[in-house]
Symmetry: C2
Subunit: 236 residues, 2 copies
DNA sequence: CGGTAGGTTGACGTCCCTCAAGTATTGTGG
DNA sequence: CCACAATACTTGAGGGACGTCAACCTACCG
């Protein structure tokens, strides 16, 4: 496979590259990598020698505290870069784990960093990608800080579904590969409480569970639950 | 004033510029701006025509929900760029307000964006600045999601103090310009509960209040309160 | 010296946590 | 395809953290 014909090229970190940069990029690639479900992809974003662009599957980044509390920071899927922190001098001590089987394109961080620093054609895409990720992180701050658990879970599911891509009518609904433990650690509550809220949402008809591996989503009803969560501009 | 002799040059977004880029940067500058305490600096990060590098004072960015809940996303001071979201195509609908009187260097977003996209000498600094900010945002996610209010406030104060810069012994302690309302909205609790926790920290000797405009901080004791908040690497 | 913004206190309610004992679902080896 | 183990989820009771309201106090500003 070649970067210029990669299906995620248009949304990747290096989306703004032109043909001659695709060649450079291909040289920075080490090859493909694949991870099994639940595998640790990066133990520490600060010290990873490699970085990845996901081409298939889901992963998430998280921090762990001394006493075992875990915070899930972000979910990654097709086109996402693992991770931006590898490109700076300092970073948070976070890890990345796969949620499903994952296929990814593998780069050596130092080579990629040199490439990005020596060529301005990547810049528009990098600025875009980064400001998109920063905005998403800011949104999540609002979700965690200002919303209650029910609203936060509704927002989480809606975000997840919209990132899973729109499927044609009649197709199998997007698989939602989060277990209760991951929902809980994403919004900062316990697994048990997350379970109670999920059942409440089920009661409202906002979601419908399919075994333990996913659910069907009624986006309209979920949005209704999360409606107060829309950030607004306010002047004073 | 000139960018090349600016005291915050070394920590600014464009920190990696060389002499000829300082000239380009000076051309992208519109001049200086100053804001009074409590003034709205940006109404919406997505649509701001201008961006700023703070040279003096403190500001913060925040979102507002329909029902009035507010989430403070980040604090900005000397050297910080307001804001990264102006450089991408999409951004969160957040605003920025000054916390003290603020002096800043003003840029036109489109000119600065063009400059950053046409010159690779800025890239190392931009990547660094951005990954630093992204890490800080990730840390705040952990703070909001996994810590309780007392730990979160301790972390908030410690972060604030360390960013205020180290003062020589015997000097006036760093002014801490947050009122209870801002502490509360930063960690996602109510003003009243924030007050109770601040008094608890006072009782522990971790902070000492000086009227309503700041406090003296015992960093060691505060760190003790926040000790569980250190992210660790864990493998399984 | 009075007005105003900011901070305090107490009583009570809700959201979320903890523990412990369950039941359902999924994965695995025969 | 079945039995079994392992993993995931559920339920209930009781408690702690945090929110709400209303009244009161205190520090700052002109």
């Amino acid at each position: 496979m070649d970067c210029s014909s990669c299906p995620v090229r248009g949304v990747a970190l290096y989306r703004s590259a032109a043909p001659d940069q695709w060649d450079l990029l291909n040289k920075a690639r080490i090859g493909a990598a694949s991870f099994k479900k639940g595998q640790l992809i990066m133990a520490d974003q600060r010290e990873s020698r490699f970085a990845y662009t996901i081409t298939e599957g889901w992963a998430f980044s998280f921090t762990l505290l001394k006493d075992g509390r875990r915070q899930i920071l972000d979910y990654y899927t097709m086109g996402d870069f693992l991770t931006l922190s590898t490109l700076g001098q300092q970073g948070i001590r976070a890890s990345v784990r796969s949620l499903t089987a994952v296929k990814a394109c593998k780069f050596e961080v130092s080579t990629l960093h040199k490439l990005l620093c020596s060529n301005h054609h990547f810049n528009p895409g990098v600025l875009d990608y980064i400001s998109e990720k920063k905005s998403l992180c800011d949104s999540r701050l609002t979700t965690l800080g200002a919303l209650n658990a029910e609203e936060a879970i509704a927002v989480l599911i809606l975000t997840f579904v919209s990132r899973a891509g729109v499927k044609p009518e009649g197709e199998e609904p997007a698989l939602f590969p989060l277990r209760l433990a991951e929902i809980a650690d994403a919004v900062g509550i316990t697994e048990i409480h997350a379970g109670r809220i999920i059942r409440r949402l089920e009661g409202l008809g906002a979601i419908e569970r399919l075994g333990t591996r996913g659910f069907r989503v009624d986006a309209g009803r979920l949005r209704h639950v999360a409606q107060e969560a829309d950030a607004i501009l306010f002047e004073g």
